[in-house]
Symmetry: C2
Subunit: 335 residues, 2 copies
């Protein structure tokens, strides 16, 4: 058995490319006491990882040079030196981009495959679902009949937000970047979906929001958001979840927004899902209930093969994925 890993060899200035990542062979690890040896099944690639490629403090440690990238993943226990997990268990956690890894069992969560396909633990029943749930419900607080605008509406977080806002009785306007994504977001329950690449966002948004905007769930920042601020209603709430349009820019300027906030007594709040760690159980309970009732659906874009993890990650910044972007590395050995 050979082992391989994907390491960060150079910190990108702009968009990440193959020159910043390298696939190399790695030693085959032995599980110490309390550890399990796992085989990688699925890897989640996420926009926030771009921030970890930079040096310097953020809400999360930067990736180390010449060390593997890491993030949400699903793996199978192939041998266990821990009480809590046994051979064949399917687990999730934050794993390095490495085919085989030994980890403390305590750092992993066992997936119950009866709740749905195991990949849901990387999106709708995982971090992106919880991100959508807490950002929207705790910061956005959508009320029945209010107008909720969602940017990046076809993404993993955005598509969950569209559906949860619909469940909350709000009128939802989505913004996405291809006709395929627009169709997908409409099917999720959005009243209007704007293609920001082919339509004038400012004009279309004003038309789609005749009563103004009460909640803006923002995944993208940049020029799309610039069109939203002037339409904010009195006491509007902006959920600042992401700003993918800025992640690859060293300097990014735009219209100052302070005056819009004053005029509308509006609020912008940034957050990361970890802020809600103590309430994860509440989030999982709602999400799995809605999923079981058919009120929540999801889309996955699955790229195949360990070698293709970098390209799947780069594709996020080109807007290639519909719903959650995953990479399938292996099938569980039972299949």
């Amino acid at each position: 058995m050979k082992n391989r890993e994907i390491i960060l060899t150079k910190r990108p200035d702009g968009e990440p490319t193959r020159e910043h990542l390298q696939i190399r062979e790695a030693a085959m690890p032995q599980p110490a006491e309390g550890e399990v040896l796992t085989r990688l099944l699925y890897v989640s690639v996420d926009p926030y990882m771009r921030g970890r490629m930079n040096e310097g403090k953020s809400y999360i440690e930067p990736f180390k040079l010449n060390q593997p990238m890491e993030g949400g993943a699903i793996a199978e226990v192939i041998s266990s030196n821990a009480e809590a997990l046994k051979k064949g268990d399917i687990v999730t956690g934050s794993l390095p981009w490495r085919e085989y890894v030994s980890l403390p069992a305590a750092d992993l969560r066992k997936i119950d495959p009866s709740l749905g396909p195991i990949t849901t633990s990387l999106h709708i029943l995982g971090m992106t679902g919880l991100t959508a749930y807490f950002g929207l419900m705790d910061i956005g607080e959508p009320q029945e009949g209010e107008t909720v605008v969602v940017s990046g509406a076809a993404g993993a977080v955005g598509s969950a937000v569209v559906q949860i806002a619909t469940i909350a009785g709000a009128r939802v306007v989505g913004i996405a970047g291809t006709d395929e994504k627009v169709q997908f977001v409409k099917q999720l329950g959005a009243d209007t979906v704007i293609n920001y690449r082919t339509e004038d966002v400012g004009q279309t948004l004003a038309k789609a929001c005749p009563n103004g905007i009460d909640v803006y769930f923002d995944n993208v920042g940049g020029p799309i958001s610039d069109e939203v601020y002037p339409l904010l209603n009195k006491f509007a709430r902006v959920v600042q979840c992401g700003a993918i349009s800025s992640y690859n820019k060293k300097e990014d300027t735009g219209p100052r927004i302070q005056q819009y906030l004053i005029k509308s007594s509006a609020l912008i709040k940034g957050f990361t899902v970890g802020d809600y760690r103590e309430r994860f159980t509440e989030g999982f309970r709602h999400l799995s209930k809605w999923l079981g009732e058919g009120k929540l659906t999801y889309e996955e874009t699955i790229t195949e093969g360990f070698d293709n993890i970098p390209e799947a990650f780069f594709g996020l910044f080109k807007g290639e994925n519909v719903g959650k972007q995953l990479v399938k590395v292996n099938d569980p050995s039972g299949k």
Copy 2:
């Protein structure tokens, strides 16, 4: 008796000047049933009035062309046709910039001169005091030992914020634009005060805030605020009270701030004092108590003469005033 008023003749593009305002004679009004005839004593000039000189919707109606400017003022009742007020009463309310005016008694509040100098009803015991109180306490929520940064710290609102934050047990860092203002803000209890015209704000601020910034009470926006966002602590609160550096600009761009909010899970909230109308009594109670105990002081810059109201207003945008800028038009007739 002659009557005069100051009218808006032209909407400014940038800084307001004499070409946008005109002093003209006006008819002497007669108080109708329920009204009083008043004589202007003091006028408050405020940065927010610049916004009302523009066309188009904001949180408050724009001034009308060829009609008088208006705002907070103190006047004396010289004849009354209303039960609630009598000749000689000193009143405050929103009044046109006109020497004599007839108004419904219900639109005026009688000042109790035993609480302090009557001019305090235009600042520390009026709108600017309430603005400082509610913005800081309701949005900023300073905790003991936290670091609070205040921009425009020598202004009417800022100087009250510095003192209230100090009362709350926070460590206060002020930003102001002249050495005289810096001295004034230090006397109010600020730990460090930065002169943004002579010092490098980014460097000095980082040095003055070794534990980061928990609360930023922002009156100015623009390049000064740009230096604050990178220093925000986890769960920081930015009170967006004003953005005077943007008011005279048609377009104003700067670094996008969304990523800072995400990194720190920080919040920015705009507001206007009217949002707290139902809690004004609570605010007055605290402010007058602290004033009586000597925990709150204030500074006034008083320009003399009706003719000089425009210049006093223009001076706000040149940073000329320390504390509250007022114009004294007349002494009460008893004096």
